[in-house]
């Protein structure tokens, strides 16, 4: 009598029944849990609201633009409302403001997150961390009015001339001297840094906190300093979370509208140098809907710009969220 539990491949034994794909036996799979088919489909109806809204947004933008302008001219850089519809300058403007802002927000956010997870005692971070959350809560138009009236003149009279004097040998920093009103890339990047900072900081903090205590203690126990433990253990372990912070922070900065419409001198041209001004897609869309309302071709071009902005934002967002299992912090706008 052969042992039935032993793996046997002899020809006289009947093959074992294949397990069903669901992991249960075929009979259990046929049995319905409860309710009718219709009854089980009902919950999908309210659950599909966000998907329906997304589809409706895309369809409405496609319908209102009829995709008339997509073509070579649309990706060109000549935007001259009744005649030419090339959005390249605005796409470039969006990246030129969002990418440097992301760089600063990641660097500062990494520093703050490391300080609050591994250097400062809990009773201090309890008082300091809410300031970063508060930064997320401030409405963008309040950033805008502060940036336009206080920060931009300060950049125009103090910071930009200083940078121009000392950095003009670098490519992109020379050329035309900065204007004294200060409206332009530096102040835009500064405001966007502040707006992306809470998202990057919170996500990096969550990533570092998700590092198991054992690993921290192993690192410290081997004689590494706190910094070496962060650098060699915690950051590699939380690298996906940190990468997702970069994507989601970029998404926030890329779609920012009102603050950019206020602190940039929105024009359809590439910036002359680092102190020049340009337009972002969101700001241009926000500012020119009023003047476009009775010109169907203009409206079509703006809707297509909205589609491009939406596509890039959603792609970045999707990648950022795929990188981490679940976002712990829910109470931040845009996260």
């Amino acid at each position: 009598m052969p042992d039935p539990s032993a793996p046997v491949a002899s020809a006289d034994r009947e093959p074992l029944p294949r397990p069903s794909p669901s992991g249960r036996s075929p009979r259990a799979r046929r049995r319905r849990p409860y309710g009718s088919v219709v009854g089980r489909l009902v919950p999908y109806l309210p659950a599909a609201v966000p998907a329906a809204l997304l589809v409706a947004i895309v369809l409405e933008l496609v319908r209102s633009s009829q995709l008339t302008n997509f073509g070579w001219g649309f990706w060109g850089s000549r935007w001259d409302p009744p005649d030419a519809w090339g959005i390249a300058t605005f796409v470039a403007g969006s990246f030129l403001t969002a990418l440097p802002a992301l760089f600063f927000a990641m660097a500062i956010g990494l520093g703050i997150a490391i300080a609050s997870t591994s250097y400062l005692p809990a009773w201090i971070t309890r008082w300091l961390d809410p300031f970063v959350d508060l930064l997320a809560g401030i409405p963008s138009i309040v950033y805008g009015i502060w940036g336009y009236l206080l920060v931009a003149p300060y950049f125009g009279t103090v910071i930009n001339p200083f940078l121009y004097r000392h950095l003009s040998f670098l490519p992109g920093f020379g050329g035309l001297p900065p204007l004294s009103d200060g409206l332009g890339l530096p102040v835009g990047i500064f405001i966007l840094t502040l707006m992306a900072l809470p998202i990057t900081t919170l996500l990096i903090r969550d990533a570092l906190r998700s590092v198991p205590r054992d690993l921290w203690e192993a690192g410290l126990g081997l004689g590494a300093t706190r910094w070496e433990t962060v650098r060699r253990v915690a950051i590699p372990y939380g690298s996906r979370g940190i990468l997702s912070a970069a994507f989601l922070g970029f998404g926030r900065a890329f779609g920012e509208t009102v603050a950019m419409a206020m602190v940039l001198n929105v024009v359809a041209s590439y910036p002359a140098n680092a102190f020049g001004s340009t337009g972002t897609m969101a700001a241009e869309m926000f500012l020119s809907l009023d003047s476009a309302y009775n010109n169907s071709q203009w409206l079509a071009a703006l809707s297509e710009m909205a589609l491009v902005l939406l596509a890039i934002s959603l792609a970045v967002n999707l990648i950022g969220r795929r990188l981490i299992a679940q976002i712990v912090t829910y109470d931040v706008p845009g996260l």
Partner: protein
Amino acid sequence: MASAFVFRRAETAEELLFDRSLRTRWRLGLDRALGWLLPLLFLVAIVPILDLVYYIASHALPTLTWTVLTSTNPYDPDALGVPILSTAAIMALAIAVAVGLGLFGGVATAEFLPERSAGWVRTTANMLVGTPSVVLGYFGYFLLVITFGWGLSFLAGAVTLAFFMTPYIFRVVDLAYSSIPRPIREAAYGSGARPYQYVLRVAAPIAFPQILNGVFLALAIGVGETAPIVLTTTQSVIFPPTVFSPVTFLTGTIWENFSQPAGSPALALAFQAALLLMIVVVGLNILVRVISARYQKRLEGLYQ
């Protein structure tokens, strides 16, 4: 030969404990320096906030009187009564629509959908959160204002804002129902509760504080939003608005007045609106945090 210079092993315990080599001093010094320098980065967050609050308050408070806040006289352009009341009206309608759109979906996703479908639904809600607000403004403009023919109106503005807030409500409800301890769910179903009985009688009292929290959060996010509302309504000086009349909004007031000349009453009005907005938003945020901390304690209590 060379390796002897690179790795000089400690010979005695004393040498190991009191290691004075340059490399060790550099390692410890770097660690200590970072311990002082990295916390300074908090200043990047703290200084702008304090500066911003001080700047807004110092320009808003000198001319802020009770009349400015309450006057709804349409012939008095430098008063906030109409924007405040209109904002409250818009937010009331918007939050009602958003809760209507998001509540049932959140419950269904957490309770009744299989895990795979729930994952997809959550992804769509997250994508909607990641949609730039100006795109939602365009959606509201083309669909509600033009296609539906509502015009630049109260209804169009409120519904657009509701679309903006829906995913936040949706996610919070989903999270609230998903985070109810599993034993409670099993006890309810095990003792014969129907699904609706579990959702309404067992889970709802536990999830309610977090849902309320989400509503406050959505209000805080919605009231500070500019692009969707400015693109779908126009300014008006009359309160109460009718459904299809233009309506004014606090952020719209700031947007209209922020580039007025320095010292003008209109600019002061923008500052006052900004101050009010910040008080409301920060107040709601603090409320959210207080509720959330209490709720966390209560949820931990449920496990015992």
